[in-house]
Symmetry: C2
Subunit: 370 residues, 2 copies
């Protein structure tokens, strides 16, 4: 039980109360008994968390880095999340700021199968940002959705995903939509010579997701869209590690907002939209960019991009995929902010610029020098 | 597409901005395009959300009830969560206060298989509160854990659950622990004539949970503990609806704290620990009681108890299961607060009162008149 990994928590309070909270987290996240009930020996020496570092960030905010034995996680992603924050999530004023997994954990979870390099290779776009868009709105028929997919692929959109609200509604059933969209994108690729991919949304009941993924694969989907906040992170991990799936995973933030939105509670943007996405095998992580319809700050978006790309064992870097109401006019600014290794998710603005969706997509590509 | 269900959101802001947010939620949760891009006809008339009620709670907090077409959910729990709060979860100052599902949705999800009446029948405890405890701490061997289970069952604890940190650690493997604990509780029941049950923790990777549940069932587990915040709510739903499982489900709040802890973001205590638990088939919902180690208020706990027990289609009421550092001395107060239809989860205090765990459990039962 020697190997340990660490979690950095930010704790609100004065120094004494924050340190007291850190001491409690050690126990709450492992043995869940008070200090006097912790047996001596292995449990006290290794099972409980250990405070490795404690310091002030300001007079009312402290950082505590706590290490846990890898063995407490049982090498399960569900239990890893449990050790990181299970019970402590219920306490106000404590936030998971970052995680630092150990070699055994990083080897245990396969991580992103494609990453930036793999996805670029599949799309045959070896430099400059990628462009992603969403097929919408909900309420259109599969034929109408597929027609949009065709036009966007003709215009050169790299990843054409279902809107995340499309699953298997009676008015737009999964199998019909996926078949038609995959065919439409293939038809466009045949004309353009490009490798645009269609990414159907496979978030589904736990009992049905495997069948949807299998169907999507055989129908010709080139990637998959999934929302781990709806399915659980481990469901995405299982898809990423499944040899038979072997498709890039685009992760959608649905419902995950509730875990990051309050600055001193929950988990940080870096952890939720960066680090955990990679542990769970996403190749691209969608989140709302600063200055769009949602309220993330520049610093939060920067931390997400870092979480997607900073060194993390042998995991490849993945695409930060900012979306959430970005205007085409902002592309130059965002290029400067994110650099070239980014996938821009542009929905509404790619529909509304002009009625010619092909030209809209081409215009976007010209903005990033493609 | 006639049938609709409703979600009540609480929105921070002045009246104009809150109403504007409500109008945006209608779109964000369905078509995800701006109003001018919503096509006329079916999509505008039925697919987008409709504001059914809007009113002030105070000058800076408003309530908006929005209805959605049942068809937008595809009758999937994952997609229901998506429609309720997928993207809007990423906005600060908007909270899901309660949900009101429609008949079709309530019939579609099986709900709690046992509920209060069913669990009472199984345990043969037809009145007065139930007692639940946790086997801990992590780090003990399966033999040591089973010995605790034996003593608690001998003392008459109704539901003896794994601590939620126990899964399949190398030092306390699932199969060995479950076998020994189920046998230990059976041995005690043979002596006492009671029907105490052992509830192993089956939270596991999505690819392994079925095997664990099957093992637990054949080993004699009388209930199951699962943490939907770690597995996703739909995984619990699938267990509840599975005829072959057919065991009461005790739901643990791990990680769900991040979604409720900030008062004006995320989802309410009533929704997360009451209403959604029932939709997803829990028979008992564990949460930290007011005045323990965690910070829930009396009003929040009351709303959870209501969410567990108020009328909801044909779903049975389920046990609110307050825990999180409750002292035995508080039982009289809590009896008054919750009434008889409650399951008290008492961990540390049942271990620390005296070294005689059997007597501690008996003492607890005497406090509730059993």
């Amino acid at each position: 039980m020697q190997e340990r990994f660490t979690v950095e928590y930010h704790i609100v309070g004065d120094e004494n109360s924050a340190l007291e909270q850190a001491k409690i987290i050690r126990l709450e996240q492992t043995v869940e008994v008070s200090d006097e009930l912790v047996p001596p020996g292995l449990i006290r020496d290794q099972v409980i968390g250990q405070i490795e570092h404690f310091a002030a960030l300001n007079s009312q905010l402290f950082t505590a880095t706590i290490s846990y034995a890898v063995d407490t996680t049982a090498l399960e992603l569900t239990q890893l999340l449990n050790v990181i924050f299970g019970n402590t999530s219920i306490k106000a004023g404590i936030r998971v700021h970052r995680i630092d997994l150990s070699p055994t954990l990083l080897r245990n979870f396969g991580g992103p199968r494609f990453g930036i390099a793999g996805l670029r290779k599949q799309l045959n776009v070896l430099e400059k940002p990628l462009l992603c868009t969403a097929l919408k709105p909900m309420g259109k028929t599969p034929e109408q959705i597929a027609e949009l997919a065709y036009l966007f692929a003709l215009g050169g959109v790299d990843v054409i995903k279902d809107d995340h609200g499309l699953t298997n509604q009676s008015f737009c059933q999964f199998e019909q939509r996926v078949t038609l969209c995959a065919q439409a994108v293939q038809r466009a690729n045949d004309k353009t010579g490009k490798n645009c991919v269609y990414a159907p949304h496979v978030t589904a009941p736990s009992t049905e997701i495997k069948a949807r993924v299998t169907y999507a694969k055989q129908a010709g989907a080139g990637a998959l869209l999934i929302a781990p906040g709806l399915t659980g992170f481990d469901t995405m991990r299982a898809l990423a590690e499944d040899e038979q799936v072997n498709l890039p995973l685009i992760s959608h933030p649905a419902l995950l907002g509730s875990m990051v939105i309050s600055p001193h509670n929950g988990l940080s943007h870096r952890v939720i939209f960066g680090q955990l996405q990679r542990v769970a095998g996403a190749d691209a992580s969608i989140y709302p960019n600063y200055g769009g319809r949602f309220g993330f700050s520049q610093a939060e978006c920067q931390s997400i991009a870092q979480g997607c790309q900073e060194s993390m064992g042998n995991y490849p870097a993945i695409f930060p995929t900012p979306g959430g109401g970005m205007e085409l006019a902002r592309v130059p600014e965002l290029l400067q902010f994110y650099g070239d290794d980014v996938m821009f998710l542009i929905g509404g603005s790619l529909y509304s610029r002009s009625p010619d969706l092909v030209e809209n997509a081409q215009y976007f590509l010209s903005l990033v020098g493609r």
